[in-house]
Symmetry: C2
Subunit: 207 residues, 2 copies
């Protein structure tokens, strides 16, 4: 059946969905309430028109600037630099961090032709210099950025990008930090790879 | 973001999709080509209007009768009885069986109020009596059904339903068989459950 086969082949393009999962989803959709199928279809088709990028931090948002950049309760002295827009949502979900964000839109990867000019690094420097900070209303002074937390993944590309940004920001007189790498909480020394173990020694903290 | 949250909560209704998978799928859709999202949305919305039930066998089809019931190359003396429409597609995928099908639309389950009248058993009897066989064209005689293969799953409900249908069909003078149960090919005696092992002894075959 072409209609079913077409749907299955479109579904298998989604991350983590193989042919068997796609078939199960298709069978479910065949038997499901048509209103559910319509709602799902509408959401999928309209997602990209409803969600865009925040002109300040570059994360996903429905309003511009995004609720984080616009939030009166956020600590404007802290900017967390992440690779992708969804990293903002991941960090927000943990409700640990109360500062602002800046999305790079990728990581340095010379082999793929991704240099610093392809990433949102210039706009980061501009924000630190106070050029692109969202207004807090007339007459309210915007506190300067005091610390940039580099939260790119601890991979070769993530580390390289973090080092590059650190060098760029050195001239701006801002404190640059990097998320701690080490044994995950609840993890096991035995199962951590050698590099993670080495890093956890390197980054050891007074107790 | 409401648009994202709505999509994620709709996606988690799909079988085998948890919140993390749904989020990954949503992020993919956010970055995907809009034409892909549109195609997927259209397929999902139109699936139920493009696929219906074959009036003869009850399986999913785009044309009525379905290509199997209408196929000149199928063995019309054999009818395989399955629980759900997708079972037909599963069996067809293995390209082992060349007979016809009959979909029950469920299994007997007195506790859930599903009695024989809720299943497509009467239409099965009618087919065997030659009442609902699809025409092969004018003047071509339709061969009578000689064997009914019961292919419901080897569960309590599947076995009960198979036994019930066997009793009903005994009066119709048709041969009734059941798919073999036993150790799966490539399986291991040690890992087969006791019931499967017992059935494999019961159904042992001369070599």
């Amino acid at each position: 059946m072409r209609a079913l086969e077409d749907l299955v082949s479109l579904l298998t393009r989604l991350p983590g969905i193989g042919r068997k999962s796609a078939l199960r989803m298709a069978y479910y959709l065949l038997k499901a309430d048509q209103r559910y199928a319509d709602a799902l279809a509408e959401r999928i088709a309209q997602l990209q028109s409803e969600i865009r990028f925040c002109s300040v931090c570059g994360s996903y948002t429905e309003t511009d600037p995004c609720p984080v950049c616009d939030g009166a309760d956020r600590d404007r002295r802290l900017v967390c630099v992440v690779e992708q827009p969804q990293d903002v949502l991941t960090i927000e979900a943990s409700k640990e961090y109360r500062g602002l964000y800046h999305v790079l839109g990728g990581l340095l990867s010379p082999l793929d032709g991704i240099g610093p000019d392809k990433l949102r690094i210039a706009s980061l420097v501009q924000r630190i210099r106070g050029g692109a900070a969202p207004s807090l209303g007339e007459g309210i002074p915007i506190p300067p950025v005091e610390e940039v937390v580099l939260a790119t993944n601890p991979t070769v590309e993530g580390d390289t990008t973090a080092l590059y940004i650190k060098k760029v920001l050195e001239r701006e007189g801002v404190r640059v930090t990097r998320l701690a790498t080490g044994i995950p909480v609840g993890g096991d020394l035995e199962y951590a790879d050698r590099l993670t173990r080495a890093r956890s020694f390197h980054g050891r903290m007074p107790l």
